[in-house]
């Protein structure tokens, strides 16, 4: 039954996408003046705003590490981000997602450049529609770059999943709830390394490989959008790399 409702006979999904299509993504950089770096992402119906502060002094002081910077992440869903009001107190799910976002961003940052300091990342979900952790990671990475923190690479993220026998890209809320598997992946596109891999559901080995490859392809598509957003903020409409001989 589920398969029939989630993918029709023409291969179209519940929101009209094909199995390899991403939802429309729009990233705006530098939306919060008070923050050192910020980004706003619209990932399908997801609307997430991310602010980065730092490197700055650690409070409380005892949290500081002598050899590197502390990265703190807070993923939070607004009470109005879902159909029914969400209690604004941090839930188990939010605490977990804060942790996985932090761990997916950490490998991209050169934290040893800022000893005894802290970088705070605030991910605020204004509207949720499945895949908000991926969208949060995408925006957080762009905001970190906007804050001018030394990074090895941007982090892009995308989920893939299984609807019946089909492996599809970029699971939305309905597919997350009714589908058979959901696998969010965060990826460093230039270094070609995975920084987050979660799986909710069941996949065979071949399905897993297909799903992972598809998610990585999705990440590469997302990376181009991240890059474009950053270029647009800093270099105006010159989206092409400007090369000149001095």
């Amino acid at each position: 039954m589920n398969e029939l409702t989630l993918i029709d006979e023409h291969g179209k999904r519940s929101d009209g996408r094909g199995i390899d299509d991403l939802r429309p993504i729009k990233i705006t950089v530098g939306v919060i003046k008070n923050a050192d770096g910020s980004a706003f992402i619209e990932f399908g119906k997801n609307k997430i705003i991310v602010a980065v502060y730092g490197p700055r002094e650690v409070h409380p002081k005892h949290m500081a590490l002598p050899d590197r910077c502390v990265l703190r992440c807070r993923y939070h869903m607004s009470p109005f981000s879902t159909d029914t009001r969400k209690n604004p107190a941090p839930s188990r799910r939010e605490v977990e997602i804060s942790k996985v976002i932090r761990e997916s961003l950490e490998p991209s940052l050169i934290l040893s450049d800022y000893p005894r300091a802290v970088i705070d990342v605030f991910v605020e979900v204004l509207q949720a529609d499945g895949g908000s952790r991926c969208a949060g990671i995408i925006a957080a990475s762009v905001a970190l770059a906007d804050a001018g923190i030394n990074m090895r690479d941007l982090v892009s993220a995308c989920a893939a999943g299984r609807l019946g026998d089909n492996i599809v890209l970029d699971i939305n809320d309905l597919e997350d709830k009714e589908g058979d598997a959901d696998m969010p992946v965060a990826y460093l596109p230039n270094i070609e390394q995975i920084t987050l891999l979660q799986l909710d559901g069941k996949l065979s080995t071949s399905q897993f490989n297909e799903c992972l490859n598809k998610a990585i392809q999705g990440c590469k598509l997302v990376y181009e959008i991240q890059k474009e957003a950053l270029m647009k903020k800093y270099f105006g409409n010159e989206l092409e790399l400007k090369e000149e001989v001095v």
Binding site: D67, R116, A145, L154, N190, Y234
Partner: protein, 368 residues
Amino acid sequence: MQEIKRRYVIPGDKIIEGNYKPLMNVMKSGDYLISTRIGIAEAGKDGVKVIPLSGVYIPRVNDLVIGKVIDRSSLSWDIDINSCFFAHLPAQDVFGRDFSPARDDMGRQLNIGDLIIARIVSFDRTRDPMLTVQDKDLGKIPYGEFIKISPTRVPRLIGKRGSMIQTIEQATQTRVIIGQNGIVVVTGRDIEGLSLAVKAIKMVEEESHTTNLTQRVKSLLNVHDPSELEQSENALSSTAEVSNDALSSTAEVSNDALSSTAEVSNDALSSTAEVSNDAVSSSSSSSSSPTPPVTSNSSSQINLDTQEQSYSTAESQPQQQQQQQNFASVDSSNIKDDVEQSENDDASSNLADAYQKEKKQEANNEVV
């Protein structure tokens, strides 16, 4: 060796392949050098670097910084230098080696909230930065306009060999103190110049990565000047200005007239030529203002008329001769009247002085 290139990069972008020396915001990854920041990558003979376009200030030894005193212990001050680390200024640095916390009152030298310009003497990964004010031009900043800009824009604000900041300082007659930490203090006597300097600095911050910025800053400063002049001219009576010019020229003429009449004609010629320039601007301004406030003084009006004539007829020799006579005929009572008038309009003559200074400044700029 590949040719020297500049290009825009974001973190993770491959800048160049090969055995180059990574200088700044660049790291090696396999055969490539990759950028770690958003910025402009430069690959030169000495190595590869990325000039960042965003980021907070990270202290470096020998940097000149502007900081604010935020706390005081018995042996040192804590200084906020707009970074993730607080800096320390030891009291011995200010009081000398024989500083004694019991004898010397630290509050007499620096208080909480004071702004200082200092140099970083030591900083590493394990210790907070240490400052010194023991150098020329270092120490407390008593007054000025405080601006915070992004530390990454500081090199652009200074410009090549200080070109940008010199342009701003000269055009606005202010002094600009720049800390590497992105704090700028502008001082100057002229309020208009101050606000113009602040405007120019903010413009540099906003458009720092664009090309031809120096030209645009220059045009901002120059474009703004005439409008300022217009304002000042409207504020004071245009006649007062004219009378000032007339005063100087007639004074010259009459002095010369006293010495010798032969010289008068020559000097009058030159003075009319000089005045004619002033008369152009002043006459145009006086024509734009409907009623000059001071009209009772007929002599000054006569002067104005003669000046206008002198300008309009400067080409023909016989008419000039006639004007020399006109100038020579201006008696000392006229001058007295003019002096009185200018004394009455003290404030306006001050403004006129400022206006003349600005004009000189403009001339300087053109020469530059």
